[in-house]
Symmetry: D2
Subunit: 229 residues, 4 copies
């Protein structure tokens, strides 16, 4: 969360790589670009197509997979037949990182996005795939929001690891589901469904691919394509 | 949801049994009292101690156990290593029943409570125990809300099936958890924890005991104690 | 189990397709070839490389995945946090089918293999992959048995769906494991490990691929390659 | 496994406490009595009623609960949707401890029972309760074996922690099951079912109660009742 270190999700804020130039002014030739938290990635990917609706208030309840804590991170005895309604510092990360990623690059730093995130993070007995129930104070109709998802074109294209659809809207009433949808786009697609009055929706993505390893690769591909390397 | 049929949670709205007199005026000597949906019961139990804070806006994301759907209700293949972000008509029930239960008995009917509930219901791989992440637009401090839980005295007492504590506040940062807390008070206690800015909290209760069988018995005990039987 | 209908596992008894000629003698041009039960397939695949050791007594305890019962076959409430030590008629199938598959084609019928199988079948909370603990009365050394697995060459080759290794021996002491090994060879490889004195070993294969859909495709490919179609 | 230290399961070999006198001869007033491994306890409890049938060959495949490894013992990522066919030194313990427990006290040591145990130990995704598929070379009829279970009277009685039935035979074809049967007799009863030709049966007991904490308490009660303390 350092001011001149970009926190990048390629489909959301590729322009934040401009901070690399700020870093180079100050230091040497090297530079640092970081990945956000895996839960933050799913959330901002699902919010990117809704940007023009000018929401200011996001509430998100997560149901996160056990792989998110690393192989030894969650004991079988702790999570089996259980929900753990707490993940250390996860809520704080989602609440601050999201604003930076969706913020605006202004000179040598990023001005945070003008909305507020309130998160409630839970661990559930799922191997891979973070599912989230989201509320956004959007006054547009359900149809307009679904249309925004369907017509969404991310600001980058053609990177090798980028999936055909970065954000996929699913019309079935009971989707997305982690076991059925986490491998869409080789695990790089974030799925969204159940947009309904409220405005509420559900989003889900593969936490160790889209949320970690794949995110790093895609960032590296973006940096290369922009000739920073 | 018939106007003259009370939907009763003994610790929340025992006075709604007054509708029995309305029924008797109209019909014969018999009467009908119904149990709310199991998720509704957990929610209103957790809101009862906060009544004086005059909230108007509740958002609740549920993580519900598979036993809530009956023994054959959810296939192992459907729920194992998975989250199903949809439970048919569950959200509607929570959104309407809660207002009736927390409403005011006025003459021959119940005036719904003046707040709005927006629910997002999910099935998770847990045997028993519905967990819920709740947001309420309460402006009081976290401490004031926790104090309200700790000092809460339900409007009934002494019924055989009623637990020592109908609502128990847990101070550990990672509680309540279904496997660890669902059997409190022989399954009749609703646990609450993680009150924090937002205002957010987590609540959890045993869906087949507090939410179904035990709820019916407690209702019957209340009806007897009030001499309707 | 009709006398003139072959029960075929391509890598084990491709020559049993000779029964097709017997069928054609009797009837019309059409013919019937059947797939064995999924558990039987894993067992006979793991026994095929050991054929020359002349065992006569097999004991097998299975730990079978819930997908083996079909999507609605096992309720979540029945299998979660549980083992069900009974699968209707599964033990009988393993005990009779194995002898037919590993039997000898003699004229118009198959003479059953001269060994006995005693099975104890269990359902466990695993999505895909049947694991089996096997005892065989083999007097050869552990090394000789492992060598037999490593040097095993199945009697068929070059079929499109056939994996590079039909039977793969794993040397790690805690393998095979269903979640880690079920997708070997696109789900068509049967894994074996833990050969030890007794003579004991563990085998595991993907029940809906190797044990069902893939088995049918491989059978069809074999039938085509042998010019029966 | 020291020669003069008894390994005691009160319902199986209470007379082995005689080794306490041997210890006292050699040393001081104190003495040591140990609990067997939890899997060994289930096995020997299930074999005790069959003692008179003079078996010499036991094969047992275990499906053991994750609590047996301690709270942090098995990572959620390791066991969820999986079977781990290996538990370090568990097979060796079952194979040696069982013979000592069912052996005969002769002078200053226990002569091991004259049978052989061959174990194949597996971890499955179950919270509590070790299930075992057992083969014994018993030539008696299935009915005779079931009768032996039903008429079994353990050699001790009246200890506070001892359940009404130490070994309970269940006639339903799909029992015992860990989630349904592990708490019989407050977790101290070992359940047996599915005796069938082979001779095969299934046994199951609560590993942390019957197999650990409760076993220690019962041993202490036995020692007190025999006036060693």
């Amino acid at each position: 969360m350092e001011k001149n270190i970009p926190l990048v999700v390629p489909e959301v804020n590729p322009d934040h790589l401009g901070l690399i130039d700020v870093q180079r002014d100050k230091k040497s030739d090297g530079f640092i670009v970081t990945n956000p938290n895996c839960s933050t990635i799913m959330l901002v990917m699902s919010l990117a197509p809704l940007r023009s609706f000018a929401f200011t208030d996001i509430r998100v309840a997560t149901m996160q997979a056990i792989s998110g804590a690393g192989f030894q991170g969650v004991a079988g005895m702790a999570i089996y037949d259980n929900v753990i309604p707490y993940i250390g510092s996860e809520e704080e990360k989602m609440e601050t990182e999201s604003l930076k990623i969706m913020g605006t690059l202004q000179g040598p730093e990023v001005k945070p996005a003008p909305f507020k995130v309130s998160a409630s993070c839970n661990r559930v007995p799922v191997i891979d795939g973070h599912t989230m129930a989201v509320w956004a104070d959007i006054r547009e109709s359900v149809d307009a929001v679904i249309k925004a998802y369907e017509q969404y074109v991310p600001p980058i294209s053609g990177l090798p690891t980028q999936p055909a659809k970065s954000v996929q809207y699913l019309h079935d009433p009971d989707r997305p589901q982690p076991r059925l949808d986490r491998n869409r786009g080789n695990g790089m697609t974030v799925s969204v469904g159940r947009v309904r009055e409220g405005l509420r929706y559900v989003t889900m993505g593969h936490n160790t691919i889209r949320g970690a390893a794949g995110a790093s690769v895609l960032n590296a591909e973006l940096i290369c394509s922009r000739k920073y390397l």
